[in-house]
Amino acid sequence: MAAQEHKLAIFRGLLKFKSNQQKIWGVLIFLSIVTTVEVVLGIIKPQVLMTSFLRMKLLNWIFIILTLVKAYYIAWDFMHIRDERGSLKSSIVLPLVILIPYLIFILLLEADYIFDVMQNGFVSWNF
């Protein structure tokens, strides 16, 4: 549990901090920048990004990717997953990484099907 055990490099070693505290502030700055970018994009909504890509707006894809980036740094640096053993790391992350996309896939596909059924007049929607 010694303080020296912290791994102090983020961005795959691109940015190395001198102490754990510095790393915490560094990660805070990074998360703030990402959140600011999200909010600015959400307010401006640039027309370029409103095109559809894989059945969803490009802007929404960007939001989701930035969210995952934020989640990674919160888990890795604030929750110290970076400092845990590989076995603990994977036993936490793998179940989530496998199960959640599976759930998303099943439910969103089904929802899309129901939308089509209602859209094609099977259920009247006009009263």
């Binding site: 959400g42 939001f63 439910l107």
Partner: protein
């Protein structure tokens, strides 16, 4: 004779959680177990939100039009600013929590106390902000009509496209209808307080104002709500059966009924997590003050509540994205 062990390290109390195969203590592992299962619970909620949204992809309410309030800025359209602020508050309280854990590693009791205190303040401010957000959501801003089929009809100025509140155009119509209370009729039979305006009043006001039009839930090609022509609006208003102001679990003035249900359920469940996080933090905070962990020789308990606190922050990052941004 007792069973001998080959390795002296195995002599420690294995059944009591003595060995640490993943180099994490029993308590920390259990916190991770909880977090993984809670993460699956939240993902279930958010995915079911996605399900309802994809099912009604052409008529889902637009979040930017719903959450437009900012404290002390009355009548100013400020979409997202307030939730962005809430996000920053929660991320910052997460940072003070890691700093507390870090100070715990160095056995600096004073610093742990300070950072834990700041974390608790941040959490309390966040819960308060969420309560304010709920208040605005429940109260509503413009009001709307509901048709027989449960569709929401909102009112806009046909020239500017701006939303118009019911109170701006509804005209008084004499009626005997009052809120039915149990004291005035059959025993135990009563009803919720009536809306400020009746359907007849809204109808009459609408017919008297030729510059008004009805906006329906359906999204047009640009992703905006469809505004009906004046003739179609006059036809559509005949279908209205109810006046809806604000939101409750049955209906809301923003559009699809499920929208308000999911808003209450998911942000409520998250807010409950924040609240319990604050309570747990307060307990640990007092334990730190009375020196429990100083005597124990380590501050691992602070790290365990820290894990929970960061998890709450992590969930908010997703709720923020899927409720307010996407």
């Amino acid at each position: 004779m007792e069973v001998t062990t080959a390795n002296p390290s195995e002599a420690e109390n294995v059944w009591g959680g003595g060995n640490r195969p993943l180099n994490a203590s029993y308590g920390k592992l259990m916190m991770w177990f909880f977090i993984v299962s809670d993460a699956l619970t939240f993902s279930g909620f958010l995915v079911s939100y996605g399900f309802s949204r994809f099912k009604n992809i052409d008529s889902w309410p637009i979040a930017d039009e719903v959450f437009t309030h900012f404290p002390f800025l009355h009548g100013i359209d400020a979409p997202m600013y307030y939730v962005a602020l809430m996000t920053f508050i929660l991320i910052f309280s997460s940072v003070t929590m890691v700093l507390a854990v870090d100070a715990g590693h160095h056995m600096q009791k004073g610093k742990v106390i300070l950072y834990m205190f700041l974390t608790i303040i941040g959490g309390a401010v966040f819960v308060g902000s969420q309560a304010w957000e709920w208040k605005n959501f429940i109260k509503g801003e413009y009001g709307a009509l509901e048709t027989k089929g449960g569709q929401i009809l909102q009112f806009v100025n046909a020239d500017t496209g701006k939303r118009v509140a019911l109170e701006e155009f509804a005209q008084p119509v004499a009626t005997d209808r009052t809120t039915h209370t149990s004291s005035t009729g059959i025993w135990f039979a009563n009803e919720k307080t009536l809306p400020n305006y009746s359907v007849a009043e809204v109808k009459q006001g609408f017919e008297a104002n030729p510059n008004l039009a009805i906006r329906i839930q359906k999204l047009n090609a640009n992703g905006q709500k469809t505004v009906l022509s004046r003739e179609a609006s006059l036809e559509q208003i005949e279908n209205a059966t109810l006046v809806v102001e604000g939101a409750n679990l049955v209906r809301n003035e923003y559009g699809n009924r499920l929208f308000a249900d999911f808003f209450f359920f998911i942000t409520g469940f998250h807010g409950f997590h924040v609240l319990s996080g604050v309570v747990i933090n307060i307990i640990i905070f007092f334990n730190v003050i009375v020196g429990t962990y100083e005597r124990r020789g380590h501050y691992e308990m602070v790290e365990k509540v820290g894990l929970y606190w960061h998890f709450v922050d992590l969930v908010w990052v997703f709720v923020f994205t899927f409720f307010y941004l996407v």
